[in-house]
């Protein structure tokens, strides 16, 4: 039998479908990296 152009025989149909891995755990930056990011975000004092 056919469905949307695919022929079905006895083996499983060859019709790959991507199943990307989902993100479930937050990636934590190391503490030093977070401190640097915080310092970089502070406004610079004008000279």
């Amino acid at each position: 039998m056919k469905h949307e152009g695919l022929e079905f025989f006895s083996a499983l149909p060859d019709a790959p479908l991507a199943m990307p891995t989902q993100m479930l755990e937050r990636r934590r930056k190391p503490l030093f990296g977070r401190l640097r990011a915080m310092l970089a975000a502070l406004p610079r004092l004008s000279a």
Binding site: M1, H3, E4, L6, F8, F9, S10, A11, L12, P13, D14, A15, P16, L17, A18, M19, P20, T21, Q22, M23, L24, E25, R26
Partner: protein, 577 residues
């Protein structure tokens, strides 16, 4: 129709107020005789444990009070989408499983829509003998009417990711050929009409990502099995209805007897391997709850429909098999603590994880409440007043939370005529009373099994995935004692301590300690199969569904004619080994 968010908020507030109010009263009554830290601890434990009881009870009451949705009675039309019916198996009895597939196929053929449904048997069987039998019985199955070209068998040699990995493997190789996937277990059985209606619902609602039925337990023969079957048939639909009112678009997925939109599932539900080692790291065990949360995160509707009948499964027939399965679920649920804070999840999905965790953590909390009560009772009260009032409050809270929803369900069934399908209101009332009595007797044993499971997991012991033996029924006394001698010891020790230090508590402790001491006897007795089916009768028992009778006939004809098939399978197994 009230919005789910309003219903959720109102129900949570009600449960919180009831348990906080009860906890305040309890704290006032437990007196000033014991150190404040002990009283405060007991009151907190009271609030936590009673909250989940009240929450569960409120769900049942909500379901009993809500208007019944009429089952869909429209004529079955030809679904537009093509559905693959996935049957993941792992060292099961192939004749039984494949005869279920044959019965479902014939049920679909009768509706003249069978060509819109394919079957994919996805084997992860590790036993070469079983694998050989599967191959042999598959040869029997393909000769079923019109199944050629519509039924496929694939066996993986490596069980990567267990059931979730098995399904992911299918999707990544063949998912593109199908619009929907109906995911079953090896013991699942569904009427063709139900399967068709589920596919038609997916056709009709482009936002629906997953539709879950409420499976009914069938073929239960032992007293324990029939208790589970009665509960799933008579009580569960109301609890599911109450849950559905609260869940809205973020409904549950229980891993089987549910249909998913293939592309939605593929795009949203690729599960990661969690960092760290089991029991918290590694592959996600209870993948179904996570997949439901991921579908909701991606904006898809996840719904449960208690009105969809014709969906069946088989359950454990004794308390030991139930406890083994529960151990696996406990580990899976506790693992979800890593996911409560996962990015992007809906608030209700996070609450569902917490709910699943508390379903198991509540057991050791009850144990702690019991132990702290014993300690407090052992400390003399200078006022001369005993702890009786506080215990009355606790007993009343538990009784109301457990009994009121079931009484309401019984009354609802009497008013809307549902009780007739179960043999009439008097018979159902006896069934409900029997369910309450037997559940109360078995609760201390389950409390001990669950507490042990939680402690094992907290100490980092990986219980793994014990195979479920669906054919195990009667439990001999020796086996029951081997599984529960430590429960006997806990029950006896608790009673001895109470007699020695807090004799006033003994009558209150007997409902917990007596069943614990009698655990091996109770496990054995409830694994017997009474000849009479009067108690815990269900509609399915009174009038078995057509697909169940079909499966029985097919299986009987295969096994009476197919002895050569089984032997050939066994021989092939020896050659392969």
């Amino acid at each position: 129709m009230l919005r789910p968010i309003f219903i959720r908020t109102a129900t949570l507030l009600l449960a919180a107020l009831a348990s906080a109010g009860g906890g305040w009263l309890y704290f006032r009554l437990i007196g000033a005789d014991a150190p404040v830290w002990l009283d405060s601890g007991r009151a907190v434990l009271f609030c936590l444990t009673v909250f989940w009881l009240v929450w569960g009870g409120t769900t049942g009451m909500l379901g009993a009070l809500s208007p019944a949705r009429k089952p869909d009675a429209r004529p079955i039309t030809r679904p537009v989408g093509l559905t693959s019916i996935l049957v993941p198996i792992y060292n099961e009895d192939p004749a039984a499983t494949f005869s279920r597939i044959a019965a479902m196929n014939r049920s679909l053929l009768a509706l003249d829509i069978a060509d819109r449904f394919h079957f994919a048997i996805l084997s992860d069987s590790s036993s070469l003998e079983v694998a050989a039998q599967e191959a042999a019985w598959f040869e029997q199955l393909v000769h079923e009417p019109m199944l050629e070209g519509r039924v496929f068998y694939r066996r993986r040699e490596r069980n990567i990711g267990k059931k979730a990995g098995n399904i992911e493997d299918f999707i990544s190789h063949s998912g593109g050929a199908y619009d929907y996937a109906l995911i079953l277990d090896a013991d699942s059985l569904m009427e063709g009409e139900t399967i068709a209606r589920m596919a038609l619902r997916m056709d009709a609602d482009a936002e629906l990502g997953l539709l879950q039925t409420v499976p009914e337990v069938i073929r239960a023969e032992t007293l324990f099995g029939r208790l589970m079957a009665f509960s799933s048939a008579y009580l569960s639909p109301y609890f599911a209805r109450g849950q559905a009112l609260m869940q809205g678009r973020e409904g549950p997925y229980w891993g089987h007897n549910a249909i998913v939109r293939m592309r939605a599932f593929a795009a949203s539900c690729g599960l990661p391997v969690l960092s760290g080692r089991p029991p918290y790291g590694g592959h996600i065990l209870s993948h179904d709850y996570v997949e439901a949360a991921l579908l909701a995160r991606a904006g898809w509707k996840v719904e449960v429909d208690p009105t969809l009948g014709g969906s069946f499964e088989e359950g454990p027939e004794n308390l030991i098999e139930y406890a083994k399965r529960d151990r696996r679920w406990c580990q899976g649920n506790l693992q979800h603590r890593r996911l409560i804070g996962a990015p992007g999840l809906k608030l209700w999905s996070r609450f569902t994880f917490v709910q699943g965790i508390m379903a198991y953590v509540a057991s050791p909390l009850w144990l702690l409440l019991l132990i702290s009560g014993l300690i407090a009772a052992a400390i003399p009260d200078p006022r001369g007043a005993g702890p009786d009032n506080a215990i009355w409050v606790l007993a009343l809270a538990v009784a109301v939370a457990l009994l009121l929803p079931k009484a309401m369900i019984l009354l609802r069934g009497m008013l809307d005529g549902r009780n007739r399908a179960f043999g009439g209101t008097p018979r159902v009332a006896v069934g409900v009373l029997g369910e309450i009595a037997l559940s109360t007797l078995l609760a201390p044993i389950m409390l001990c099994f669950q507490s042990r499971a939680v402690f094992e997991i907290l100490f980092g012991l990986d219980g793994g995935w014990p195979a479920t033996r669906r054919d195990e029924t009667h439990v001999e006394f020796g086996t029951a004692f081997a599984a529960s001698w430590w429960i006997v010891l806990i029950g006896a020790a608790t009673l001895a301590v109470a007699i020695a230090f807090a004799p006033g508590l003994v009558p209150w402790l007997l409902p917990v300690t007596a069943p614990a001491i009698a655990a091996p006897v109770l496990i054995g007795l409830t694994s017997l199969s009474p000849k009479s089916h009067w108690l815990f009768g269900t509609a399915v028992k009174r009038q078995p569904p057509a697909v169940m009778e079909l499966q029985r006939q097919i299986h009987a004809s295969w096994t009476s004619e197919g002895l050569g098939v089984a032997e050939a399978g066994a021989e092939a197994g020896h050659v392969l080994a």
